[in-house]
């Protein structure tokens, strides 16, 4: 008997045995089968078997990962209780934001209840709510529960007075500065744009840095974020509070954008190249030690502390972005938030899962295992977070003042009009004219 034949006959015997004692061995052979295919399958088969009798819901989210994945957090939830089983659908990563958006819109527009729970970029909340795809969550999360999150985030999750999303993770624009250079000239961390300009000019003049302040002026979404921060820090706004008309032609907004224009053309603390830079090109000179200040997202800190990529290790500090005299710091709010499908057939299960996902304990896990910043201020006081993510803990002050981008169901169109108008203003220098024109364009979009 050859080896091949012996193997085949052994398999035959095993098959016969399992057929004879089918009912008894059903579970075992299932497990053995999946073990043969691979460990990953085993896990899913096992949890699938245990899911019988549970309420099955689906959860779709953009892909985030670090030490752990979202799938592992979802698995942990499935393990933790016996009533609900969550199936995780992975969407592309947030860098492919357009694709994630498309996938969600196509699913939600079918109104068939799938996915039951999803995560969304903060700028889609109004769109999904306006289309009636997002379930209002006020009854499940009353005012007292909402007070446990950063106020700016609850604003971003609220559309026409209803809470239609629940905060998950937060990011925001912040000011990176060179601790060593500021100490060198005895300057304090600037709180106003004027102070920052003075320090930046001084450092640039003394030749310690090539650039005083770096920001992002590329005609892209990031330009809107930069604009929200300066306009917000001058008590201005892009849209009126009701979201039905544009206010970007107002003096506060014009003055704020004029400041950005002046950083290139008057105080010259920024190179004209910022007009073509998004996040990474603007980050490079800073971590290369050539700039004093940088506006960017929290990811920069990790790179700045990486010896192989940065020449400013341990020399970088983070502070809330400066503001105009009489205003207050306005970080542009980023991050992803939870939503519940309005056509879900398992509303109670969805809300229960959501409550667990947004709980302080789970947020702590997301922070430590995936490096995603919590949306509850209380989590920042946890000792474990201080130990594992000391930098994240310092961001609480940044996120406290976070300001949402314009809240409107037509955000995508408004954003494109803003990108075009802001870029035109920053190039031509005729800020008032360009912003007024942009305001009337936005009014037309909102009115249509």
């Amino acid at each position: 008997m050859s080896q091949d034949e012996s193997g085949r006959s052994a398999a035959k015997t095993a098959l016969a045995a399992s057929l004879n004692r089918r009912s008894l061995l059903k579970g075992a052979s299932l497990a053995a089968g999946s073990m043969a295919v691979g460990g990953g399958l085993l896990a899913s088969t096992a949890s699938g078997a245990r899911a019988q009798g549970r309420t099955e819901i689906t959860f779709a989210s953009a892909k985030f990962y670090a030490k752990k994945t979202i799938a592992q957090i979802v698995d942990a939830y499935n393990e933790s209780q016996t009533k609900i089983h969550v199936k995780y659908i992975e969407l592309p990563p947030p860098s492919s934001s357009t694709e994630v958006h498309q996938a969600l819109v196509q699913q939600l527009a079918r109104r068939n209840g799938a996915p039951d729970v999803f995560t969304q970029d903060v700028v889609w909340i109004a769109e999904f709510a306006g289309a009636g795809w997002a379930l209002p969550l006020d009854e499940y999360f009353p005012a007292a529960a909402r007070a446990e999150y950063f106020p700016g985030l609850i604003d971003a999750c609220t559309y026409q007075g209803k809470l239609t999303a629940l905060p998950w993770i937060v990011d925001g624009g912040m000011l990176f500065y060179r601790k060593d250079l500021l100490e060198g000239i005895g300057a304090k961390v600037p709180e106003t744009w004027a102070d920052m300009t003075t320090i930046a000019m001084e450092l640039q003049k003394s030749g310690k840095v090539d650039f005083g302040y770096l920001w992002q002026g590329k005609q892209a979404e990031v330009l809107v974020c930069d604009a929200v921060s300066v306009i917000g820090s001058n008590n201005g706004s892009i849209l009126a509070a009701d979201g039905k008309s544009a206010t970007i032609g107002n003096d506060q907004a014009v003055e704020a954008i004029q400041f950005l224009y002046d950083t290139i053309n008057k105080s010259k603390i920024s190179p004209a190249d910022v007009l073509s830079w998004d996040e990474e090109p603007s980050r490079l000179p800073f971590t290369g030690g050539k700039a004093a200040f940088l506006r960017n997202w929290s990811y920069v800190y990790g790179i700045a502390q990486d010896k192989s990529a940065s020449s400013v290790v341990d020399k970088v500090g983070v502070a809330p972005l400066p503001h105009f005299a009489g205003g207050k710091s306005a970080s542009c709010l980023g991050g992803y938030q939870y939503g519940v499908n309005a056509s879900t057939k398992n509303r109670e299960a969805a809300v229960e899962f959501l409550t667990w996902m947004s709980s302080p304990a789970t947020q702590l896990r997301f922070a430590i295992d995936l490096g995603l910043a919590p949306t509850r201020p209380a989590v920042y006081d946890e000792a474990e977070l201080a130990k594992e993510q000391p930098f994240m803990q310092t961001l609480q002050s940044v996120f406290t003042g976070a300001t949402p981008r314009p809240v409107t169901p037509k955000y995508a169109q408004v954003s494109l009009a803003l990108q075009s108008g802001l870029s035109r203003g920053l190039v031509s220098g005729d800020i008032k004219k360009e912003l007024t024109a942009t305001a009337s364009k936005i009014d037309a979009i909102l009115g249509a």
Partner: protein, 312 residues
């Protein structure tokens, strides 16, 4: 079963001459039907559906889907952003096609001659064209970066410029930088097409010209160029239609900015269709692109036809 019977069985029963004629007439069409249906489903249907969408206000966000007649086209007619992108696209297409054709011709003439390692050079020349455009775009992004780009460094070292040039962040330079990147990338393609064209010119003609005492320039001008003209026109047509759809370079390098100075029809259309999900208006832009491209192709074809007719 005899051969005759088999043939009858395949062709079906023959009841009369008329019936047989009908089958003879129908069989080719029936055989073509599957090919036609599959082509229609992937090519004709999407075009017609796109055309239909351009007459609706379909938007995934507002969930509207109503017939609105020519409303989208009326909007398009007065939309500054559209005409702005239209002009950029035409400029990009004309300049890059012309530059690529001339440079490609020069390279083709060079590579046509015999010299050592000609095969290696011919293969190496194709490298830029073989690279994915997104990779090229990223590469040019770093090369032409205003502050830490290699181009500014080299130009400064050579003493050609004294201040860094803002290649991508200035409205005066950005479109030209993108055209430069495209010329670098696609000239090899033109060179290859024209090289193939050069090989089709009979050697006897060149030899005859030489015997008549024509020098290189005269041989080129009176023999090679006229013979190459149809190839030039067809290559130019391909290139122009391809250049008209430019997307990757703009999307990666500038995103359409600064101040919309590099927005092209493809990037504008992508933003309208996929970022704002306005399928109706986006389809109107697509249709306008289609019409413009058809006009470009028609122009080339008329020229080519005239040329061929005169030759006869």
């Amino acid at each position: 079963m005899s051969l005759q019977q088999t043939a009858t069985a395949i062709a079906g029963p023959r009841k009369g001459a008329g019936n047989s004629f009908r089958w003879q007439f129908l069989t080719p069409w029936l055989l073509l039907l599957p090919a036609f249906l599959s082509l229609a489903s992937v090519s004709v249907y999407p075009i017609l559906n796109g055309l239909w969408l351009s007459f609706t206000n379909t938007s995934l966000i507002t969930q509207e889907h109503d017939f609105v007649g020519f409303a989208n086209y009326r909007l398009l007619w007065v939309d500054d952003l559209f005409w702005n992108a239209w002009w950029h696209t035409i400029t990009f297409t004309a300049v890059s096609t012309l530059a690529e054709t001339l440079l490609g011709l020069a390279i083709a003439l060079l590579l046509f001659e015999h010299f050592a390692f000609r095969g290696v050079v011919r293969a190496a020349m194709l490298v830029p064209w073989a690279m994915p455009t997104v990779v090229t775009s990223k590469m040019f992004g770093w090369l032409f970066d205003g502050q830490h780009g290699l181009i500014n460094y080299l130009l400064k070292s050579a003493g050609i410029i004294s201040e860094n040039v803002n290649w991508l962040g200035s409205v005066d330079n950005a479109l030209w930088t993108i055209i430069f990147a495209d010329v670098w990338k696609t000239t090899p393609f033109m060179a290859l097409l024209l090289l193939a064209g050069l090989h089709t010119i009979p050697k006897s003609l060149i030899e005859a010209a030489r015997m008549d005492g024509a020098r290189s320039l005269a041989t080129f001008w009176y023999v090679r160029l006229p013979m190459l003209l149809p190839t030039l026109l067809i290559a130019g047509l391909f290139r122009a239609l391809d250049a008209f759809r430019v997307f990757d370079l703009v999307y990666v390098l500038t995103g359409g900015g600064p101040a919309d100075s590099t927005e092209t029809l493809s990037t504008l259309n992508y933003k309208t269709l996929f970022s704002t999900l306005q399928f109706g208006y986006g389809s109107a832009i697509s249709t306008a692109m289609f019409i413009t491209e058809a006009m470009i192709a028609l122009g080339f074809c008329i020229f080519l036809y005239e040329r061929l007719r005169r030759q006869k």
